[in-house]
Amino acid sequence: MPSATLLGQALISGVLAGGMYGLLALGLSLSWGLLRLVNLSHFALAFLAAYLTYELGTNYHVAPWWSAMLIVPAMFAMGLAQHWIFDKFKVNELASLLITFSFAIILEVAIQLYWTADYRRYETHYSTMSFKVGPFYIPVLELILCLVAGVLAWGTWLWLRKTYVGKALRAAAEDADIAAAYGVDHKKLAYLLSGMGAAYAGIAGTFIALIATLAPAQIWTWLGVVFAVVIIGRLGNPLGALFAGMLIGASESIAMAVLSPAWAPVVSFSLLIVILLWDPEWL
């Protein structure tokens, strides 16, 4: 039987890893749920941001928080540009999968051309820092990531529910024609949301640069699990994405501690199937 310390440590590790799932899922969930666009290039944008953070940090000694100040607005602009293409060519939900997959491939190749396929690691003195609470170790960066993901998820949730723009976006997602009849300019709001989604990818990318070693092909590493998170958390629900990320992260981690680590992906996708079949009211 695993000890209580092992289980507790695995739970902490899983919940914090789930923070990254939630952060990555946030932008994807918004564009899928409210714009009906499945943006696969979200992962490539996050990695582009990660490589830019690495480049600025390694070659120009810019601290990651300052890099984020540059990168996040740049990503927002990229989101706007991307949405202009969706808008111009009237891309629907299904076509968005194909088009954004192409974007992702183009970005992957571009990243490889500039940074090569070799591994890149942004070494910082704080990347593996942790502090002790009782018998448990809490990694500092992952904790900050979780807090940032929490603030963004709560902020976005409140924005969607309490502000006129947020309510208008939700109304347009329900029925664009009726919303337009009430004066909602869905097109303009869609640009805003696209930009926000890409900006969230930029924030996730900054953390990826600090936590992970970068390689272009790793763009696809989180794809499966983040899709599961988005679906479990309900499309367009930022808080749902965060909680689902933590739920999957924790269940994977507990499976690794109690069963064989190889069972982790089985557990997360089984959870997805169970929740889809169960369809609980509270979700």
Partner: protein, 407 residues
């Protein structure tokens, strides 16, 4: 094997050795430049996808070797042209591309791709067309059942038995030999194959295997695994890792304020592990490192210099030649020796020549007359010391002043 080596055989071996050593050692200026229609050699590498980090090393090694061969006499006096395609790290793509290389591009010869799965895919196509295929990275030799498939790396035919014993010999030489170990491995077939061998051999030699853990290839979070390792607290951690997984395991352990006492990594990314703050004393297998006595082998210092130059130009962060790049060098050396030795571009004659002759490669003298066309295993152990890989075992291969360090 030895009783087959009659006088006629010794002569052939000596002829092969003399021919390849001569080609490597003699200055280029005394040879005529190749001319005429190029000999097209087709091959794929995983230039994109999850194996791309290693493929770029193989690509550079190939470029160096094609240039070297053309500075010499090419193949039978004709220049060599390498038709390289990107298999995207996907075996199905590798299979289609080898089909294309042979039937559409009409290449004269082929070179094997990198990694077990693409090699197996390419080997099937090679077998269908009777082509010789030389590869340097098939981790499960018993799967190389095609009679014209040859290994360019001295894995030996049973690395699941030979590898673990070299590692265990090295561990046993420490002042405090490990009594317990944890075997942690990726489920990637060649890593899992070696991990099972490690577990079996360790148990046979009385080392207690506290845990045998498998994780899915591409695992994202090693936090829980690290917690299990820390709790088990083994004397020796053996990690059947690929690429960055070793770094991820060690980083996760550090976050728990734990450093393994002795740790071995199967197929890590050599640069990132050597340069990692957690990499100190990490052990790994090798066949060659850019140090003595290897640099004294014919041509090695020159190739190492060219590799550094090209890798720097290609913007690679780790520019030192290692066993990976050497594998591709060996692959070209074998093909060159076999073409020139057999005096033919005919696959049947090339295969027959390779089975009868030894080839002097960057790894030393290799033979191909054992099970699955493998020869002797010549695995070495290297260790990260002061951010550099140094060969530490067997002792006779360690550079002066370098010794295995244990916990």
């Amino acid at each position: 094997m030895t009783n087959r080596m009659g006088a006629w055989r010794r002569r052939e071996i000596l002829a092969g050795l003399a021919a390849t050593a001569g080609m490597l050692a003699a200055p280029a200026i005394v040879r005529a430049a190749p001319s005429g229609k190029p000999v097209k050699i087709g091959g794929t590498l995983s230039l994109t996808g999850f194996l791309a980090q290693t493929a770029v090393i193989h690509k550079i090694a190939s470029e160096i070797m094609v240039e070297e061969i053309n500075v010499r006499n090419g193949f039978l006096g004709r220049p060599v042209e390498f038709v390289l395609l990107d298999d995207q790290s996907k075996p199905d793509v590798a299979r289609s591309l080898y089909e294309k290389l042979i039937t559409v591009d009409k290449v004269d010869l082929i070179q094997g791709p990198y990694a077990t799965a693409p090699i197996l895919a390419a080997m099937g196509v090679a077998q269908r067309y009777g082509k010789v295929i030389i590869q340097n990275s098939m981790g499960i030799p018993k799967m190389q059942t095609y009679e014209r498939a040859f290994p360019a790396t001295p894995f030996g035919s049973e690395p699941d038995k030979t590898y673990p014993n070299v590692i265990l010999d090295a561990m046993a030489s420490l002042p405090t030999p490990p009594k317990s170990m944890v075997v942690l491995t990726s489920k990637f077939p060649s890593a899992q194959f070696m991990a099972l061998g490690m577990k079996e051999q360790a148990e046979k030699r009385g080392v207690k295997v506290l845990m045998y853990l498998e994780y899915e290839s591409g695992n994202r979070d090693f936090g829980a695994i690290a917690a299990r390792i820390k709790e088990a607290n083994p004397d020796f951690l053996w990690v059947g890792s690929l690429g960055l997984e070793s770094n991820q395991v060690l980083e996760s352990l550090r976050k728990l304020d734990y450093a393994p006492k002795n740790h071995f990594h199967l197929y890590p990314a050599p640069g990132p592990l050597a340069l990692s703050p957690d990499g100190n004393n990490a052990l790994c297998s090798t066949f060659l490192e850019p140090a003595e006595p290897f640099m004294s082998r014919p041509g090695v210092a020159r190739i190492a210099g060219e590799f550094k130059e090209k890798a720097t130009k290609a913007n690679l962060p780790y520019t030192t030649i290692d066993a990976q790049a050497a594998g591709m060098v060996s692959q070209w050396q074998m093909l060159e020796a076999a073409v020139n030795g057999s005096g033919s571009l005919d696959d049947e004659k090339i295969a027959a020549w390779l089975k009868k002759n030894r080839v002097t490669t960057i790894y030393g003298s290799l033979r191909f007359d054992g099970p699955f066309n493998h020869g002797d295993a010549s695995q070495l152990i290297k260790q990260v010391q002061d951010k550099e890989w140094r060969v530490v075992w067997p002792k006779e291969f360690a550079a002066p002043g370098v010794a295995l360090k244990g916990a």
